[in-house]
């Protein structure tokens, strides 16, 4: 048995938490982007760490994968300047 796997109870608890968070997004946070994205990030963290077992892998693997991915995703935020320019500085195209 691979010691990487952990307990099935943990998997089921994480599964339930992810579903509860999804319900929270739909019934409580609908329409509020930032809180929904925070909840989605928590769901993603749980999925990556527990379902994908990254929690039990070597820390060097986590360091190799996570920071660079987050960096690329964060850098994509540069698009907002242009999209706000379109919204505020040019007439709307009909």
């Amino acid at each position: 048995m691979d010691s990487n796997q952990g307990s099935i109870t943990t998997d089921i608890v994480v599964y339930a938490v992810i579903l509860l968070l999804a319900c929270a997004q739909v019934f409580v946070l609908r329409g509020h982007l930032l809180p929904m994205l925070v909840v989605a990030a928590i769901q993603a963290y749980l999925a990556v760490m527990f379902f994908m077992h990254l929690r039990t892998e070597k820390s060097t693997l986590r360091l190799a994968l996570i920071p660079v991915t987050l960096f690329v995703l964060v850098m994509m935020n540069m698009v907002w300047a242009d999209s706000y320019r379109l919204m505020h500085m040019k007439p709307f195209a009909k």
Binding site: A47, E57, L73, M87
Partner: protein, 208 residues
């Protein structure tokens, strides 16, 4: 410290230490996952860019569509759990249970795809096309179908891949490591959906 394992005779193979203490094929899957995460990130940012820059972005998703999206989320997250159970059984050497749970995962994935197509046909029936719709910004259709279509393609190809790997595992061609590697892909597909739902569906829910 490398493990040099010289085979006798010609063509000696030198076994290097596994990168990050995982099989190379598993590392390849992780690298694919992070590249695919950047792809989906770019698609979702592009969706947000277009939505932000549009004056009259449609909000077509009524309660029935939102509940459909929640049901799809439930199905996909459950399929993540079932492939996890399948991998657990595979690692424990129980081939038949591993196969059973893998095929349950595939069925759930196909159910997700069917519900997704139902949603698509509903929107198409209401007049949504790639570059026009009855409600507002013409780019809504193209951006919605692009984001959800890319995800749907990943779900369908993941279902096909899991089927191929499961059948190969049954024949002895693949082992539990291979099933675990493709379970990583499946979890990733589920993870992406957790971002697609709030950005594409919940931010475009109709007020009524």
């Amino acid at each position: 410290m490398s493990e040099a394992n010289l085979a006798a005779g010609h063509g000696a193979d030198v076994m290097e230490a596994r990168p990050f203490a995982i099989p190379s094929k598993k590392l390849v899957m992780w690298l694919f996952i992070i590249s695919d995460a950047c792809t989906f990130g770019a698609m979702l940012f592009a969706y947000g860019y277009i939505k932000n820059a549009a004056a009259d972005w449609p909000h077509p998703f009524e309660n029935s569509s939102i509940m459909n999206a929640l049901l799809m989320t439930f199905i996909l997250v459950t399929s993540s759990l079932t492939i996890l159970i399948a991998t657990r059984h595979a690692k424990g050497g129980d081939k038949s249970k591993a196969l059973m749970w893998t095929f349950i995962t595939v069925v759930l994935g196909l159910a997700f795809a069917a519900l997704h197509l139902k949603e698509w046909f509903g929107l198409i029936g209401e007049g949504v096309r790639l570059f026009q719709n009855p409600w507002g910004a013409p780019m809504f259709g193209a951006s919605f179908f692009a984001v959800t279509g890319l995800h749907l393609a990943h779900v369908v190809s993941g279902a096909i891949a899991l089927t191929v790997v499961a059948l190969g595992y049954k024949r002895g061609r693949y082992n539990s490591d291979d099933l675990e590697i493709w379970s990583l892909y499946w979890h990733f597909v589920d993870l992406v959906w957790m971002f697609v739902v709030p950005i594409v569906y919940l931010m475009n829910a109709s007020a009524g």
